[in-house]
Symmetry: C2
Subunit: 347 residues, 2 copies
């Protein structure tokens, strides 16, 4: 009887242990584990002038959304999440490379409250360190587990190509005044969404997901990415500067043809249209008046609500895709919650 | 009797056919095949503003030395050379990417007699198209045959990293006046040699060479690369402008701390040293006088002969490495001749 009792206790504790070890990690746990892995990486070869800017950019933090998505998607299928950290690092380093070169091309002085690389060093350092980061991204991707290496590379290459196409469109749109809504959506899909989508798919792929689950998860990431970028555009106009981390009104000052701008122009009456045209060529020394002037037209024609509606619709589409993934609901709930938290939604 | 005769004739012709099909390709044949493969590649996605500069750079020609080395090295071990064309294209596209970004960083206006990308378009186009080319290089590398893919990537990644380190040193050396000869040699090893060396090793690796043969061939490529760059430096001062393809004296105008300059400064007497110092800060409007002035000191102290001696010594080392490769001499003769032709040597 006594022995039976101890045996039962042991079996119970063992089962709890297995459950604990098998427990899926929360987004926060994953972010913390991954951040400590990323900061522990040693990319300190010589010459230091090449590597110091890379360390600088990677130490600036950020929410590590892409690796978190990748690791969470993997974690839906498998528990040994450390196995995909190098792949996740490759995707995060690539993302930071795009920020470095995009900031140079956009002549942006600040990123995450700190000076950008071309401001802190110079343009050539930004070009070459960026190139170095892109190669570094591939170094980590090449550490992906052997059987899936080719698939990981193919997905990464197609994704990276798309992102550069998106950046090219983004630059072109700044000097065009006939950008259509669907062109804008395609641009942000390329520039922002495909990387999120690829991360989610890549995690699932490494975890052994079926092709159809991978496709659903790619589409989930794509829709979340669209919602996320549209929300970012909204916050750029209506956000709280303390929370947003960038100056409010940047898109307006750069004449970015965002969803808000395109629709405001479409809905504006003759007087509002000519006001928008006037602000577009404004080069006076009171940028705040331009921001306030354009925003008042946004308010008048009601593009904030329009944008929120579209964000909700992309978010709902994403959730539908996730619902269709062939896994028990409890394996999907953490990813669902994380996506919701990114869009300030409680699910 | 009659049947026996026909049989012999048939066997003879069949053997000739096999021999013909198995025959190794000359450097010229390889260059032609590869060039036609490269020009047949279709990298014409949208937006065209991203891809037009890539097509432009790849259409400017050049000697295709790196893919030729890769394919020749493969051909020493195997005959189906088309199998490595995508890998060779990856290495050639990477090389052209470095030219694009280096020209931007060096503010060079001309390359192969044509306007560079940042001159023909603008800086941002040069940055982004260059990034696009780097990703394109990886796309072709990822098509390398599956069993060797990881090894190809590891070698490419380490090589590309080294090349960026070399470019960083090159930029730093322009503003330093205490660059030592061994630092210069290490810089050109990184900036030029490791890519040639990696191409030769990669071809051999894909052809199934042993690890020790691969190592010998890497060292062969490395020494050829050093000889080649030193010769390029020599031609920059003493070459025939019509043959050289670039303006003569460019290194002198940029205060490049070449082997010639470093040794001229070391061997110069007090008067010559102060003359070199004066030219280093010259900003008058007669660049030709600077070129002639510095060259006359090179002549006086005899650095041309010194450089030729070092080129010969690297070339001889390269040949010794090739001799040690465990293959019949006739499988190695074409590579030997090609390396010799690059350095204007008849072997």
């Amino acid at each position: 009887m006594r022995r039976g009792y101890f045996f039962s206790l042991f079996a119970f504790l063992f089962a709890r242990l297995v459950l604990y070890l098998r427990a899926m990690k929360s987004a926060k746990q994953i972010q913390e584990c991954f951040e400590s892995y990323l900061q522990g990486l040693n990319y300190s070869r010589r010459p230091d002038e090449l590597y110091a800017p890379i360390r600088y950019v990677l130490s600036l933090g950020g929410k590590r959304i892409r690796p978190t998505f990748l690791i969470m998607a993997y974690n839906m299928y498998a528990d040994d999440i450390e196995r995909v950290f190098s792949t996740a690092a490759g995707m995060e380093i690539f993302h930071n490379f795009t920020l470095l070169h995009d900031d140079l091309m956009d002549r942006a002085d600040m990123r995450r409250g700190k000076a950008t690389v071309h401001k802190k060093w110079n343009d050539n350092t930004a070009i070459l360190s960026g190139d170095g980061m892109l190669v570094l991204a591939y170094r980590y991707l090449a550490e992906s587990s052997a059987p899936e290496l080719k698939k990981v590379l193919d997905l990464a290459n197609e994704t990276f190509t798309g992102i550069m196409e998106g950046q090219q469109y983004d630059m072109e749109f700044e000097t065009r005044d006939d950008v259509r809504e669907e062109e804008y959506i395609e641009m942000i899909r390329l520039k922002t969404s495909v990387l999120l989508a690829a991360c989610v798919q890549m995690g699932a792929m490494l975890g052994g997901a079926t092709a159809s689950d991978q496709e659903l998860l790619y589409e989930f990431g794509e829709k979340i990415g669209l919602a996320f970028q549209l929300q970012d555009d909204l916050l750029d106009v209506y956000g709280d500067p303390a929370v947003f981390g960038k100056k409010i009104g940047g898109d307006i000052l750069c004449n970015k043809k965002t969803y808000l701008y395109i629709n405001a122009y479409r809905l504006a009456d003759g007087k509002q249209k000519s006001e928008l045209d006037r602000w577009a060529v404004y080069d006076g020394n009171d940028p705040d008046s331009k921001i306030a002037g354009v925003r008042s037209i946004y308010d008048a024609v009601g593009v904030k609500a329009l944008s929120e509606k579209l964000i909700n619709s992309y978010f709902d589409e994403a959730m539908t895709k996730l619902d269709q993934v062939n896994l028990p609901a409890d394996r999907k709930s953490l990813l669902r919650e994380y996506a919701g938290s990114l869009l300030n939604r409680v699910l």
